[in-house]
Assembly symmetry: D2
Homo-oligomer: 342 residues x 4
């Protein structure tokens, strides 16, 4: 069986695993207050060009999203997010469980634009409504699309003008930044948002996301929020060790190599599928692609491949599926899938 | 200045006030455990034909909505409601503050239909998503429209089939039930929903809503939810006294007389405005109407009348406003407003 | 049957009721944004000597406590309160339901002192614990005792030094301030705490408490907290009308007359009971007294009087009960009770 | 520098690490729905003699505690726990953040007894108070003490009679069960409590606790609670792999070997310290010990050893400290510490 179901079906990239093994017998303080977390934080600050950034290592993406939102918002403030977003659709109401409304906006491509947010602001009246305060975006989006630099700049400018925080979910940030269509650098992101995270789980670590808080207002007593929201890891150095392995070398680090590998194989797959005459649900240029296939073909593929059903389409004889490439996906996997699609 | 801004700008209907004055010097137990609350509950049970219904008197509509939802849902379950609904738009995220997601649906007329809810159910996958469990509707809706009996029956049948609770916000239930277009009785409602409330605040009391819980699952430890959610009134008998005054006589009671009065004046106003050639934002048949007026005319009206701006419309020279009639609105008020609209 | 069970078993004092009746037919804006609330707020500001105080009228004491705490604390901050306090024992976990820990301290007399709070501060370490931030006291306490001026000053000084907010629950503040043993003025309180409320429900109104927020940090977006926590009354002017009636005349107002009446009758009762040779659970000097009576005597009293069992005592043949005087308690009531106790 | 500061200052026991390395390249489904989690669950069911138990693997102890409590309690129900307990003192109010009150009881030795709980039940009156529903205990306790079988049986019987759930925090359960003074088997625990967890983090895993839910009422929709409370690990199989390595062999498994090693070294240290004439804060018989040392001696020790200050004692020249042994603590470490204490 070949896995295209996610980019987190294997363990860690060998280089990350090696770092864990090599440091295993050392003693350190717990809860992320150790030299490995310090080193990884230093590497990140250098990579993003922000020596004063606040770095927190968290076990997963949902904790990163929910804890950041909990630390940012007052009880009466709400989040604006795409309807397709992870926090709205796939976190079991974890944001609402901390008491905050998510105001969800319909989008074609998973991306928010200033005019969409302005409509929400226009609706706001007074203390009978929640006050919009944080804009949540993801890059890549849930549909595999990415923000262009001009789009992110426009969003950032708009949020600053309106007193809104801008937060970017980077579960697949590596894939976004190494996409052939990308024109944004990680330094750009650090200049344009209030907080974002660099995803590790979907980029070669066993687990872990590196949250970067650029706005000190959000960082106030942040570690209390981590602990209260169940995100404090006892052996916190495991996160530091992995992110050090993933990010040392900065722009030439393993993170970007893994992401480029994933994107290259996804592109090869996308081109191959396109050549076979199939269409796609979204214009993904990253490591998730969403071809629309005949249901018969899908049933046949299942004998040999694992992948996710995504959504129905207008033609009832077809369905959109999702193929994802990971750090361990091989050329051979791609060839086999393309062969089976013929 | 004449008030069309709400149906709660005056105190209580004289008959309700009289009951409060007459009982003022009596001693009773607190927190709604008194003979007046018992009497009012008996009247309601008889009116709705449900001797085993559970009745709780609450100070306002937001408490009625939020407490009922808090008592109904497990932490991982969510509400389905119209985007225009009071709980989604005008309760400052109070439902979310108890930890529950509201999944909001766009509607033309403020009403939910089974196919709209089915779409939400279709999306549900597993424990990564909140589980849809309660459908919130209001009658009248926020747009002054009402449910037809066939619509409410279809919704009720659908919810039962799907294991969803159906809750009806009756802040203006009196107005709905006395609308010329209404074909539902209060007994029908009691047969079709799991819980609903009869609004007092907008129907002649100083304050107070009578919540009727027909599904015993929702009623479990209900008074704990009232207290925890700040809805327990020390001199609870004030609610019983008022609802006894409002509802004694059942179908011929003051509640329906006040509502019919409000509807009659609203209809006169609606017809008059229609005769003047104006259009309306919604097809309201109750005590709120939403004419679309030229902005100049609106500015002129403000000199003599108080009313609410409602929403922009396609024609930028016009705006939709809201006129509401209350228990104290007079024929003279209507004539004056129609005169000013000429 | 004669009522000593609470100070809220009757309706409103006649002067308060009269004000409600007289203003009943007027139209005003809702939600407390009306001339009566403005007037009542002005009277309060003058009474406490704080022209810049923020005044909010709320329906009950539990809402006043919970909303103030919700508006004051960050998610990771906690309350320090007496174990006997209303928020810890009698609000169904409403404070915890907003996410905040109450750290409860054992007291002999219901009063907190700096050294007790210092012990909690000493325990605090880091982000693995909640941060103590608000001290909750009540005056009168749940045991009928009151703070002396020197005690409140010491507490206030301590809290300021330690960066703690000091909040005073004044459900029976009138009774405290008119106690024969009181040496604190309402102006003193306004100078010494960050927020407090003047109780109406137990001092002659139908319902309502006047919350006074002296620290602007607590007042930020306060009305959002009121609405989100279900405390916003549609016909908010009812609160203004009642507090205007209760407080006009300032130090000579109805509030203090009612409280003095309650205290005088309670003192007469206490002295009479003491003369009969009974002991008391606490040294109350206000309108609640806690005599320790033989269980046989208690059973006999129940035939004619309504009152509350309070707590067991060392002697198993006896029990502590609570007698409370209200605005409508009469000399005749006291004489009858004393006669029955002989 | 030698570490006595915690039992989680190193990585994983070599056998656990080996299992992670060996399985690293396999593909599996995420979120704990994989063969390794299934295998580990089977081993646990066999070990505890409960083929129908529900097993959930969680990243840490705070998530295990908070998620279990969230899944067990209705909003109006509260927890009874020792004042010293982890949930009350060292989880930053995470339980309260889910809306639940913890009613904390003072204890001498960190253990709860039926009569203490009965006092809380006696206080309960009605809907104005939270309803006690879950009793939280830990074994070992925070003070290193353990429950005797008769004590746990008495507690279990009492809880069943009173309709209370009994939950046991087993962060250091291995150490408890291998203590020389222990007379409880893991099967006993499974028979006596409604839920408990076997701690991995402090017993040789990189992270992870195995939660065992024996009462199906608590297990209802449990995975929704895990996800909503941020406890769902994407590469969930990492937990299964580690617990399989830790527990295969059942009663002869690595878990018990590690725990016995920790206890043996702790006992050697305790005896040595006792022989030197020092006293202890608690009668610990497990892998945490709390000697009372002269402050001068403590300062001296710090040059070579890392350990935690615990609490002040009556004699101001002394202080209680905590020494903890872990899977990697050596005889040499103990000898060095005893030498330094001479």
């Amino acid at each position: 069986m070949r896995y295209f179901i996610s980019d987190y079906s294997q363990g860690a990239h060998p280089d990350v695993l090696k770092a864990l093994v090599e440091t295993n017998f050392e003693h350190t303080d717990g809860y992320g207050l150790d030299v490995y977390c310090d080193n990884a934080a230093s590497i990140i600050k250098s990579l993003i060009g922000k020596p004063d950034a606040n770095i927190h290592f968290l076990v997963g993406g949902t904790p990163a999203n929910v804890i950041t939102i909990a630390a940012t918002l007052k009880p009466y403030e709400c989040v604006i997010a795409p309807h397709t977003s992870h926090i709205y659709m796939h976190e079991t109401g974890a944001v609402e469980a901390t008491g905050h409304k998510i105001y969800a906006l319909d989008t074609e491509d998973g991306k928010l634009r200033p005019d969409m947010i302005q409509c929400v602001l226009d609706e706001f009246e007074d203390e009978h409504m929640t006050l919009p305060k944080l804009v949540y975006i993801s890059n890549t989006t849930e549909l595999g699309t990415i923000y262009k630099k001009s789009e992110l700049e426009a969003l950032s400018k708009f949020c600053k003008e309106k007193g809104l925080y801008l937060y970017l979910d980077g579960a697949r940030l590596g894939s976004a930044l190494t996409s052939p269509e990308n024109d944004i650098s990680i330094k750009d992101i650090a200049n344009l948002v209030d907080a974002f995270y660099i995803g590790g789980t979907k980029n070669g670590t066993l687990f872990g996301e590196a949250l970067i808080v650029l706005n000190d207002e959000i960082n106030d007593h942040f570690r209390f929020y981590i602990k209260q929201n169940l995100g404090m890891l006892a052996k916190g150095r495991l996160l530091g060790v992995q992110f050090e392995a993933l990010l040392k070398g900065g722009e030439n680090s393993l993170l970007f190599k893994i992401a480029a590998h994933e994107n290259n194989l996804a592109e090869k797959l996308r081109n191959g599928i396109s050549d076979l005459g199939y269409e796609f649900l979204s214009e993904s240029c990253t490591n998730q692609i969403f071809p629309i296939l005949p249901k018969e073909k899908i049933a046949k593929l299942r004998e040999e491949f694992l992948f996710e059903d995504w959504s129905s389409v207008d033609d009832p004889s077809k369905f959109a599926v999702r193929f994802v490439t990971g750090w361990g996906t091989t050329d051979d996997d791609i060839n086999a899938l393309l062969e089976a699609l013929k």
